[in-house]
Symmetry: D3
Subunit: 232 residues, 6 copies
Amino acid sequence: MQAKGYENQYADGFQVLHPGKTMVGRAFTVQFMPLREDVNGVTQAKSKEATGKHLYNQTAIDMLQPGDVLVVDLFGKKVNGTIVGDNLFFYVNQATHGGGLVVDGSVRDLDGISEIDMPAYFKSVDPTPIGQVMLTGINVPVRIGGVTVMPGDMVVGDREGVYFVPPQFVQEVLDKADETHIHDEWTKKKFAEGKYKSGEIYGSPSDPKLKQEYEDYLKKRLDEIHKHRAGK
Amino acid sequence: MQAKGYENQYADGFQVLHPGKTMVGRAFTVQFMPLREDVNGVTQAKSKEATGKHLYNQTAIDMLQPGDVLVVDLFGKKVNGTIVGDNLFFYVNQATHGGGLVVDGSVRDLDGISEIDMPAYFKSVDPTPIGQVMLTGINVPVRIGGVTVMPGDMVVGDREGVYFVPPQFVQEVLDKADETHIHDEWTKKKFAEGKYKSGEIYGSPSDPKLKQEYEDYLKKRLDEIHKHRAGK
Amino acid sequence: MQAKGYENQYADGFQVLHPGKTMVGRAFTVQFMPLREDVNGVTQAKSKEATGKHLYNQTAIDMLQPGDVLVVDLFGKKVNGTIVGDNLFFYVNQATHGGGLVVDGSVRDLDGISEIDMPAYFKSVDPTPIGQVMLTGINVPVRIGGVTVMPGDMVVGDREGVYFVPPQFVQEVLDKADETHIHDEWTKKKFAEGKYKSGEIYGSPSDPKLKQEYEDYLKKRLDEIHKHRAGK
Amino acid sequence: MQAKGYENQYADGFQVLHPGKTMVGRAFTVQFMPLREDVNGVTQAKSKEATGKHLYNQTAIDMLQPGDVLVVDLFGKKVNGTIVGDNLFFYVNQATHGGGLVVDGSVRDLDGISEIDMPAYFKSVDPTPIGQVMLTGINVPVRIGGVTVMPGDMVVGDREGVYFVPPQFVQEVLDKADETHIHDEWTKKKFAEGKYKSGEIYGSPSDPKLKQEYEDYLKKRLDEIHKHRAGK
Amino acid sequence: MQAKGYENQYADGFQVLHPGKTMVGRAFTVQFMPLREDVNGVTQAKSKEATGKHLYNQTAIDMLQPGDVLVVDLFGKKVNGTIVGDNLFFYVNQATHGGGLVVDGSVRDLDGISEIDMPAYFKSVDPTPIGQVMLTGINVPVRIGGVTVMPGDMVVGDREGVYFVPPQFVQEVLDKADETHIHDEWTKKKFAEGKYKSGEIYGSPSDPKLKQEYEDYLKKRLDEIHKHRAGK
Amino acid sequence: MQAKGYENQYADGFQVLHPGKTMVGRAFTVQFMPLREDVNGVTQAKSKEATGKHLYNQTAIDMLQPGDVLVVDLFGKKVNGTIVGDNLFFYVNQATHGGGLVVDGSVRDLDGISEIDMPAYFKSVDPTPIGQVMLTGINVPVRIGGVTVMPGDMVVGDREGVYFVPPQFVQEVLDKADETHIHDEWTKKKFAEGKYKSGEIYGSPSDPKLKQEYEDYLKKRLDEIHKHRAGK
């Protein structure tokens, strides 16, 4: 994915709600912009005409499906940039079956939110309600840090930050993840034996025999993983 | 309390010693300013005359009572801005019966402090002792972030930050907290049933029947809470 | 304009190229987002179909008209976020007749740019060329700091920052500016006389006689200004 | 003055209005704190009783005398922390005969202010009026950065920052300034001759002959300065 | 150690991997600088000549011994400043017997690293590999924050930061640590009795009887500690 | 020079003393590290033995030659990180014939320095003298921001920042600068005619006739420049 044209798919600088809990899901994107009434008036009139309803943050939240990660561009706003408090966070968890939340903005009620077992990434925490913003898009391209996120991207979060994987790369990324996992497993196993210097094993063994040993291990473990998945 | 004239009662940006542990107490305020000997000389002379003693940080600490939260304005100083180390923190915990500490400044001995079960909010940690400052007031108005704190304010701290509630609002705030708690309880209960969109329930149900259901629930739970408190 | 719904029309935090030189013009907006090839491919294909050309920063620059201010959302990017160097800056100056530039991003060739007498507001300066971004909109709503800027907004910049005035408020703002200018003129004149305390004159005189004097002055000067404009 | 107990008399981190213009004057201090109505009510009632008037920023400004430097603690507030705009800045200039302004906060109307030839040091610039603060003291000790400023301190500002000199050190500081000035004059003169390495001249000549030459020069120039002053 | 000439032996501002776990070991230092091929070419040629090998980060890692703490100067680099990922971190843990890592730079694979029980101090986390740097020294003096670290220094890390103790001070520091530990023990014991104000006990008791009590306690406990160590 | 292995030759984030004045010279590098007496003792003893003198900042300054730019690594230190005040700055100007100064640290006496017509780049300004540091190298490789600077590098500074050009690239860079200069000249000339869109001219003309016109212009102007230089 680091290939030309996809170098900008990683964002960090978040507070991570549950470090150690991996987030994986499908991006459901929401865009906000600073409020100005002339623009908002037009947006709201269109929405009213089309759906009979005004557009606001719950309009988007009520569209969430199991497996979604709610990805919200609130342009880093802290005060009045709080996409959810603990009640709506609870709802998002229910609706997405624990999918997750990524917001370039803030959340409220951190005590309450901390008790809910859904992964979340946010820039800050504030006690104010959301305000002085207008919803300008649901499932449109949004910007999170230095990434253009598209609806449907696979979102993967760990202790460090969040990757947004375009759908056409998902299989490749999953395959790569299996190989990396096996490589790490084997590398640590060899290090644990205490017989090798790091340079003999990592990143790739120099000794042809060790290299072969690794290749065999990789093949065996990949087979096991595939069988295990098929068996499910 | 957000009514005109009380918009500035919340401070954040602290390191929170025991996240998840709520702090509630009465503000005992202490003010420091950068040292200059001519000013300090006058202050010390007055103190000596009135009490026979010099004024320094322990003078204030030795006045703490059970239920106090020690609130210290050290103007954000890190180096030599350490109001307590683990020994005095231990003492503050004893004297206030676990009341708490809020300092716009730093503390020392974080390892030792972490083992003591009292809530604390500080800007930074440093190994230096307190220095290059002078005590300029005990139980005077102090500034913590964007808040003017008065001695006797109710201090409430959670994972996010600290509220300073003027005494005349305490009852109102406690009542409001009960209602909010019941509202959150009910909202999450309804969301957990999985039958409603967030927009139907939150912030206030649109369906008159649901609205009535909530009103009844609120009344019943408030009664329970009041009886429970009376029964104590 | 500070009325409800238009509180977010001011942006600052820029480097100001020519402090003391006021910028006034009509917003011509350009939006960039972080590059990802799948999104860019679709955009470029559409542009190619519609106009026979690829879309890039010069596509937008070549559409500028006299009186335009080029307003560019490059999401604060410094490295590879340089909308123009001195050659294109020279061109923008020519094309807009000295209109101006506002970029939430950077510029190159500050030495060369400094010699060109057009107002400009940018976040930073960098020697790299623009890169790792894709043009996603021309004359669409863009975000500059905490402002949603619409194409056609009146852009007014001074030493402090930039106002984006929605067209429906332009007349009101200009009238208000005349009054403010006259008020400042009169206030300073009275202060220069050295007979008054600031509280007697500013913001509005308390003495009814002085108040009347100011009202007469305001009326007279407004008449002069209007005649002068009509005479042009 | 660097002697024990006076190490904290220098503040920097300001925007300097007229770099290259030295500021010298007598500190007139004003203290603001974040607004809370219960505290402000008491302050205002006391002021009303004592002076028949409410207390606000112009109350302080109207007390300024020639030679004063207005020193304002607005605790670094930017938005609504604007002590003056260009009208009041004009007034301060008139009232203090160009004394100066130091504010740990902001100013408005930078274009207008820039045209007025009074030194000023401020942390930021903002278009909002002053607000959400209360005046809590005039000519009381205030904190500016890491300095406790007392009314009557000599305030000296240059391109780098501001010194606050306690009155008891003023003569000593002025004498020291004369010596430093002469030392710099002589040192540069010797360097300009091009015959010496820096280590032979600076900070103090090692060669006894040069040392004597400097001592003679110092004496002669001090005499000239004193005569010149006496002659004025 | 705070004596003249050793005031700069403490560094903080790190992310601490396992707060509450103390780090103690011997500094093994590594220095990197920004890559430039002319310099790197010479370094590599020399290394090749001397050892038959190229120099890179694993060259240093493979020299680690039990009890070492790996101390790396990567001049605060985040992107491409990742000294290890979880595989090499695993190796370092094996090789040093849990010694530890201090890097003025970043690490990769925080999830994997978090599962390994070795203390680590780093400035940031990034998913990129190490790059655009060159190894310029192994066991040379390096700079970590405001400290010059020498190979062989005793490295002590806690929740706050890291001390680098020159070998000639190690015994003194250990003795001082014993005394401090006993002093804290006694002070807390007295505070726990609830009979004393903090000022009567801390830092040193004013009452001669209490002072004697403390001296006896100190002597007794030091004896116990020394016997306990001797007995091991 | 952006070719592989030389991507790290530019540093910015400096205060520029005389914007608009270009700096060109040969790097004379000096390295400081945080003081520790054991290390400094060895360094000083060696220096004493070799040269009979102690090593300090003037030792380096007294070695400067015409055409040198003094490049100092003071690891970003502000307080006590002041390499020169106005007296030594005056000397450096004399000794280098206006060569220049780049310091990853601070300077003193900005008022005095501003009157001396030598280019200078520094991170901050402070009134303290240099201290708590030790000189660890003269004309050794030093780090300035993200650049490894070698003694003898060509140092080029403008309004934006500073380039450090390895000697082997100097001719290439000078040639490239001539071409860029001519390209800018021609491009602006064409834009000034007002007949072309920016896309037709910049970066390279698409019309073959224009392209030829540019090639001819480039050739003619390069000849002129070379003759002019030869004629000098």
